[in-house]
Symmetry: C2
Subunit: 204 residues, 2 copies
DNA sequence: ATATAAATTATTATATCTTCTAATTTTCCT
DNA sequence: AGGAAAATTAGAAGATATAATAATTTATAT
């Protein structure tokens, strides 16, 4: 079920697209090309693993705009920016905004491949982490409001007796909620639960 | 006991140093100037809060070299790189290596000040976090080897009985170690201990 | 209004954890 | 060799947590 990663190329210049496509093929990497940012936005599928190569200067949506839009949607694939006429402020902006690289054309084929491989690895790592997070979130969503409340107390290390008094309910109720929390979150131990709470950012 | 932050300026050009010094004075910021990377390395004091402004092109150690050296020493003050003749690859390298900004001379005074303020804030935040970490580390260092071993099992959520069998010692011993760990680490609850273990990176 | 889910409580039995006290054995440094 | 720190163990009492079962009261949605 593990999909092969692809390199998603977004550039209005047909020459560049085909050159990159060939380059990727030469090392057995899949690629998909888009001639504009809009075309990518219309067709992209976050379930597909891989990385992006975006040209800065394009009609319509620029590579940097596209980067910003994806970021706003909380979509964070590794992005390599390429440009023919880059300047320093632009490069700084792209990298601080999270681009893994900012490369000027014409680029060196081997270093481009190195960057792509690094980016693909990073994506695979991120995907592993985020699929785990999604699983935990789906468990968390199953909790009732009261159970979530109890969870917060539990991860603070409070004892059932204290939780009961702070929530003005009986200890038995706390125990019932607590055991439901453990069950629904699929946590075997308190430390499992803490780990999950961390990923859910319930803990600072 | 909270020291005022300073801006540490490293540039071989006396003109630039005095201009920056005046700029910082104009908004009430302390600054210290160094005419070379070596001079900074000879005199720097990590206990002083603030940020760095490094020129790229200097005789001897360049700004980027200095950045790399500090990084190798695990010293991570916020660094603003300035340069008269920057290029894109250099900017990308500096930023990916952790520089908060890469600014070309001549720079805009107000935007420089904005960056400096941001950098100083970031430093203050880092210092708060790292002083807490140092406290925890000093506690951790007090643990005996055996206690550290038990700690690892504990944060995995293993029960005393299991720990005892895996370590081939009696449950009583585990209990003794465990209580010493809680005491030495100054942890009131298991969740406290887990939080500390996270900061110590004992947990993935 | 009436099922359904959620929240509440209690009881009992068992398992664990914590704390305290006390003592013995190992290990390591000077 | 002698002493200090570390590691080891035991027992007992009290506090907590867990698991299983059962029952009642609110909410809530169709």
């Amino acid at each position: 079920m593990n999909q092969e990663p692809s390199v998603f190329i977004v550039d209005d210049d047909e020459q560049v697209r085909s050159a990159l496509t060939l380059l990727m093929e030469s090392v057995g990497l899949n690629s998909e090309s888009f001639s504009s940012g809009q075309e990518y936005l219309d067709q992209f599928d976050t379930s597909k693993p891989g990385c992006l190569i975006l040209d800065v200067r394009m009609p319509g949506i620029s590579g940097l705009d596209l980067q910003a839009r994806l970021s706003a949607e909380k979509i964070h694939p590794p992005i390599i920016i390429i440009t023919g006429h880059g300047d320093v402020p632009m490069a700084v902006r792209a990298v601080t905004a999270g681009a893994v690289d900012f490369i000027e054309k014409p680029f060196n084929n081997q270093s481009m491949l190195d960057n792509v491989h690094r980016a693909i690895e990073q994506d695979a790592k991120q995907r592993g982490e985020s699929s785990r997070l999604e699983e935990i979130e789906s468990h968390y969503d199953e909790l009732t409001p009261r159970e979530k409340e109890v969870l917060l107390y539990v991860i603070e290390g409070k004892r059932n007796k204290i939780i009961a008094s702070e929530m003005n309910i009986s200890q038995s109720t706390v125990e019932a909620h607590r055991s439901k929390v453990m069950e629904k979150m699929a946590a075997n131990t308190l430390s499992d639960l803490m780990r999950m709470a961390l990923l859910l950012k319930l803990i600072t």
